[in-house]
């Protein structure tokens, strides 16, 4: 057919339950050229890949993994809406490829029965036929094809076995056999239909997976399983917190060096500042996240692929259930100790949209590493290096208290949100425990690559734009310091007269009840880029020579010119620390919430509720400490 190459590409919908080898097959068919996006209005990821067979172009739509076409949430409804062609940007598929783990044939035929009602050409792909044989099972594929009235192919996706045969089949969906009659409706009739097919095609049922059973006796043991879970989490935390640091420091140094080179290469002025402090620093603040994101997703997808995530969820489900979350939220909250950005991206492994949303909304309360420089500055400057009970450092105790305050608040807010937010669409909780399987390196690579690329493309652009906007606020209008002033002091003068400086003065009446003056106000505006920026900004305002000792001295000595009182009183310091525990001072987190929830509603909600919480808590702290002092 000569017109076939020019005609619209054939569209295949790839349908299957979670753990059915769907993604592996998708990669085998389309290579690593998937286009990733979002479906409109929901948090579901949209993936399409292209391929060419016998000169015929085709598009494979990787539908979200599902156990049923009868949706009980808007997220799940995506599958049936795509099949019906109800989503404007996604034309309905011309034919369906249904994947099915050969070892779970009995359960999976229930989804196939629903798919047959779509009245589209369907072919069935039985995956993991090697595992079926290893467990002594035998299925007659030809009889299965006859019984269902559709073509059936057996594959081992990660080794590419059977994929060529499937490819040839996909070239000619017009020629596929079609069922004479549809499966009966009604639970009892459907069960009888299932039994008649199974008795016809299953020669031997696969035996139990002995290895999985043996491993589960340890992994799911109340004591051993909990200890293992704790060990995995400690390692995980180490990985994203410590091991990513060298790479992040290297990126930081490299970005600083490039910015410095640009500044010295260009004549001093607007252009040099724009490129060095606006664009290069902005790009730097995007790629600084990559080491953590790549490490996090490598481990996460590995644990998911091997089958451990479902077990971990079982082990901690009870504890998380108390605050209305599910087991998998634990991993996300723990990652948020390093940084809320990878933590929020990790919520993709949470199947329930409601549980996922609550986890996203409380993740910014976990004490991320960007708060540490702020805490370090204030604690080192104002908390005496005394010891309590002879061996505990007071400074360390204050730091621990701040970490605990964040974590406890996250759990309380989660409990509150789960009792109020989206209470109506209560979904059943179920979790399949797949047998342990070694995920292929190729699959891992494609998953990690997909997540990192999505972060750079979607969140990166927002982060970059925000960094540039903040640079403008902090640098304009350009104010020339009076003659004879040295360089740190002129930088301080320029900052005070910038838009951000004016905002700092402008919001002073609003933040005065918290004990903050305009200088802290400027710092708070600047810290919207990232929390730790407040330290550099304060250094600039105080015209400090460095961000260490001299800044500590400067903030300690600063007095209000009108009242003569210390600006950083005990109450102000306590109030500022508490403010940083709660406030969502981070455009990167806002950008990633926007990306993951696919709406501006939730980043705005998160920013608003955390700001209100921060304001209330700081106000209270300021009053209480003042009364005590």
């Amino acid at each position: 057919m000569s017109e076939a190459g020019l005609a619209a590409p054939l569209r295949f919908g790839l349908l299957g339950s979670p753990n059915s080898g769907k993604t592996t097959l998708f990669n085998a068919l389309t290579g690593l050229r998937a286009r990733v996006g979002n479906y409109p209005g929901v948090t579901v990821e949209r993936r399409e890949g292209r391929a060419e067979i016998d000169g015929r172009r085709m598009v494979v739509i990787d539908l979200p993994g599902t156990y049923s076409l009868a949706a009980i949430s808007p997220d799940e409804a995506i599958v049936s809406r795509v099949l019906a062609g109800e989503i404007a940007e996604v034309p309905a598929p011309d034919a369906l490829i249904v994947t099915m783990d050969a070892c779970t044939l009995e359960r999976s035929l229930l989804l196939l029965a629903q798919a047959l009602y779509q009245r589209k050409p369907i072919c069935l792909v039985l995956t993991m036929v090697d595992e079926l044989r290893a467990r002594g099972g035998e299925i007659d594929l030809r009889r299965l094809s006859n019984a269902l009235g559709i073509p059936v192919v057996g594959v081992v996706g990660h080794r590419g076995l059977g994929v060529d045969k499937l490819r040839r089949l996909l070239g000619r969906p017009e020629d596929w056999i079609r069922p004479h009659m549809l499966p009966p409706e009604g639970a009892a009739e459907r069960a009888a239909w299932l039994d008649s097919i199974l008795s016809n095609v299953v020669a031997t049922r696969p035996g139990r997976n002995q290895v999985s059973d043996a491993v589960d006796r340890v992994v799911l043991h109340p004591l051993a399983g909990s200890l293992l879970f704790a060990a995995v989490m400690v390692l995980f935390f180490q990985l994203i917190f410590s091991w990513a640091t060298p790479a992040m420091d290297a990126i930081d140094v490299a970005v600083g060096w490039i910015a410095q080179s640009v500044r010295s290469a260009l004549p001093a002025g607007f252009l040099a500042g724009f490129f060095a402090d606006g664009i290069i620093a902005g790009v730097g603040s995007v790629i600084i996240f990559l080491p953590q994101i790549v490490l996090l997703f490598t481990v996460l997808y590995f644990l998911e692929g091997i089958g451990y995530m479902a077990r971990a969820a079982f082990v901690v489900d009870r504890a998380m259930g108390w605050v209305g979350l599910e087991g998998r939220a634990f991993v996300s909250l723990l990652s948020s100790y390093a940084c809320a950005v990878p933590g929020i991206m990790a919520t993709r492994t949470i199947p329930s949209p409601r549980s996922r949303l609550i986890t996203i909304l409380v993740a910014p309360l976990m004490t991320c590493s960007a708060r540490l420089p702020v805490y370090a500055l204030l604690i080192a400057a104002f908390v005496p290096a005394a010891t309590v009970w002879g061996f505990l450092g007071l400074q360390g105790l204050v730091l621990l208290g701040l970490y605990l305050l964040g974590a406890l608040s996250a759990l309380c807010v989660a409990a509150l949100l789960s009792r109020t937010l989206a209470k109506a669409d209560e979904l059943p909780f179920y979790l399949e425990l797949p047998p342990y399987r070694m995920p292929s390196a190729r699959l891992l690579l494609s998953q990690v690559w997909g997540s990192a690329a999505a972060f750079v493309k979607r969140a990166g652009t927002i982060i970059l734009a925000a960094s540039i906007a903040l640079w403008f606020l902090l640098s304009f209008p350009r104010a020339e310091a009076p003659a004879g002033v040295d360089s740190p002091a002129s930088a301080s003068y320029a900052l005070e007269h910038s838009i951000a400086g004016r905002i700092g003065h402008g919001i002073e009446p609003a933040i005065a009840p918290l004990g903050f003056d305009w200088k802290i106000g400027v710092g708070l505006v600047a810290s919207l880029a990232a929390r730790e920026v407040i330290v550099a900004t304060l250094a600039q305002i105080y015209a400090a020579k460095d961000e260490g000792l001299s800044l500590r001295e400067a903030v300690r000595k600063d007095r209000d010119p009108r009242t003569g009182k210390l600006v950083f009183s005990a109450a102000t310091v306590a109030s500022l620390l508490v403010f940083f525990v709660f406030a969502l001072q981070c455009t990167s987190t806002l950008a990633i919430i926007r990306r993951e929830t696919n709406s501006w509603r939730w980043p705005i909600f998160a920013f608003g509720y955390l700001l209100a919480l921060a304001y209330a808590a700081s106000f209270l702290t300021y009053r209480v400490v003042n009364a005590l002092a």
């Binding site: 156990y67 009980i72 009995e106 459907r190 069960a191 009870r318 425990l433």
Partner: protein, 75 residues
């Protein structure tokens, strides 16, 4: 008798699911349909959640879901 009351390792037959239609429907799509044998494999501390095997697949269900699944023993 409900599935959450069955002892570990004993196999019972599903009689029905007493839950709001969407939940009952979904449990049915997972394979919890009348006449199907089901076996509790293990339960977490305090009995919640539990792991149940049905048609060669293991699912983790909370007590609220397992409690909605009615079972009987064939004499």
């Amino acid at each position: 008798m409900s599935l959450s009351q069955i002892e570990i390792g004993t196999t019972a037959i599903i009689d029905g699911v007493d839950a709001p239609p969407p939940i009952a429907r979904r449990l049915g799509d997972l394979g919890f349909i009348p006449g199907t044998p089901v076996t509790p494999i293990r339960r977490a501390l305090l009995g919640d959640p539990g792991i149940y095997e049905i048609r060669g697949v293991q699912y983790c269900l909370r007590r609220s879901e397992a409690g909605a699944i009615r079972v009987r023993f064939d004499e």
